[in-house]
Symmetry: C2
Subunit: 348 residues, 2 copies
């Protein structure tokens, strides 16, 4: 049975309505930081866990049960669609996505074929369908943004400088644009299928876009992300746009079509609102690294962020980036409690 | 014989005067990107090259000869003073500074003793004295800022998240402050000795400060850097303050006492001026990664940055971070030529 989400604080904020309390969830709330995850996950690639709907469902539910967060996020990965079409990419433990044969020329485009979610990744959609019968909070579906996914396909793996990606962007702009366009189409297909299977919101992860100047982002990246947000608009669910080091990109990222804009810990919430407009809906922005400190110190940081929000009800509390694997879950439990108890007290 | 630097374009800009042309130099202009460096450098730790004044002098001069840049920067390292007092830190090829025994508690402070540059690192000062007789452009001396140097001493080496550093900052603020204060005193001693030996300007490298929220920077880092800028003010040379990912920190970094503020490639020059005031003197901001692209593309980026400067004469062209080892020196030669030929054409 699907839960009644009309009272969801998370969805209320996404719609621009005042919620009962400040909603909170954490990027990477499911996964390695949880002992119950490490217990059931087993060895092998994370792709095996993603391809197992019972396991992926349970992993997605674990942090919702433990933390009482206001939203679940599908346990999956931004390279899952690319993996599903057989591009040749694996997620290596402790490393991240690694492509066997990175994209070096237009010939490699043949491995970036059209995604048919029902055929290529039915397990993801089965997980979504399972989840919406189990959850009493909204499920957030997601996709990797074209730039960030492309960086893995071009570099061959995680990369400090994104040197090959930026070089291709400048030296071969047509090839670069074609890669991003194909990845945009894959993201559209993936997000659409997740929403049709029951996801209540979508987040586009452009985790690494913040390595680009606003000029390069606008010239080479924005249109592909915009294409995604426009295509999923008709699905009628809130759209969140996320990245880090994006202080200068925030207005462009919202212009791509997002309803909610992620803010990292470098940009105070009031500064983000000054840049985006007071009516903007923000998600953020506790530094996940600070969650490795002791509980009283973390609580003080949470209270400082609540104060920096200055009583604005258009705010979803989150980390500025994903939960680090070495995080003590008890710290995150306290974060949720403090946000739920105190986040709304300053509302006018 | 020491050169007459009264016509130096670099120093003119630092003093707020209109120069003959837009000055340009590159962070890490000396070093691995140059074949002539790789030829003379030999094996062994970079500390051996730094400790050899003849070699360090020649390495510093190489990019000045090749590129015709408007300033030289001493070939040394931000951890050289800490190395010199026997803390136990080496610079591992391809890795960076690695500390044998990272700072874990107040007991480790005994290894952070007072620096006496004449006794502890006479080779650095001999290199400076050599250089000022050879150079016909100003020599920039430098030091690592307390936060950035502390991050190596606390983490034990380069670190993606600075997790131990941030945790100590929150959990043990008094210990953290003591480490930064000692490192500030070392930076003051080092910079003072470099200027007394003939350096014409100083740059404080706070390369990793941009991982901090403005709140944490202001609460835990600013005062130590401020102490350095105040102490070296009486030396009468321009003071440059540099970091990356510092878009939100720029006003605080200038308030530390800098005459010139470094701007990374994420922050357009006009945005930096809007944040710092129109009279501010900026240094930046070409993305060093873009220098791996082909020459026409790099030239176009340089021209775009010149245009973004909008005819302001308070600007030193530089990269937003150091030259990458794999950079083709011919690209940087073209960058210098374009800046020198076109940088000043828009001046009113």
């Amino acid at each position: 049975m699907t839960a009644d989400l009309t009272e969801s604080a998370f969805l209320a904020v996404c719609r621009g309505e005042r919620p009962t309390h400040v909603p909170v969830w954490f990027m990477r709330q499911a996964g390695r930081s949880l002992p119950e995850y490490r217990e059931i996950r087993g060895p092998g690639s994370i792709n095996h866990a993603i391809a197992n709907p019972d396991l992926a469902t349970e992993i997605t539910l674990q942090p919702v049960r433990r933390y009482g967060v206001d939203a679940a996020i599908l346990f999956s990965d931004i390279v899952t669609p690319v993996h599903a079409i057989g591009f040749g990419i694996d997620i290596k433990p402790g490393v991240g996505p690694v492509a066997e044969k990175p994209i070096r020329s237009a010939e490699d485009l043949s491995r970036l074929r059209v995604l048919d979610p029902d055929v290529d990744m039915p397990y993801v959609l089965e997980t979504v369908r399972n989840l919406v019968t189990e959850l009493d909070v909204p499920l957030i579906g997601f996709a990797g943004a074209p730039f960030t996914v492309a960086s893995y396909l071009i570099e061959g793996g995680p990369s400090k400088n994104k040197a090959l990606t930026k070089s291709m962007m400048l030296n071969e702009p047509a090839l670069f644009a074609e890669i991003l366009d194909r990845l945009a189409d894959m993201a559209i297909a993936s997000l659409t299928s997740q929403v049709q299977a029951g996801a209540s919101a979508v987040q586009l992860f452009d985790s690494w876009a913040g390595c680009l100047s606003p000029h390069l982002y606008e010239s080479h990246v924005l249109s592909a992300s915009q294409k995604i947000f426009e295509a999923v608009a008709s699905l009628g669910v809130p759209r969140i746009h996320f990245g880090i080091n994006t202080g200068e990109l925030l207005p462009l990222m919202r212009s791509a079509g997002a309803d909610v804009v992620g803010v990292d810990w470098l940009v105070p919430l009031d500064v983000a609102r000054a840049r985006l407009g007071a009516e903007s809906i923000l998600q953020g922005n506790l530094d996940p690294v600070l969650c490795l400190a002791e509980v009283p110190q973390v609580e003080a940081e949470v209270r400082r962020i609540i104060a920096s929000n200055d009583g604005n009800d258009r705010w979803i509390f989150n980390l500025g980036h994903g939960v680090l694997p070495e995080t003590n879950p008890e710290v995150l439990e306290r974060v949720v409690d403090v946000v739920h108890a105190e986040g709304h007290l300053a509302w006018a």
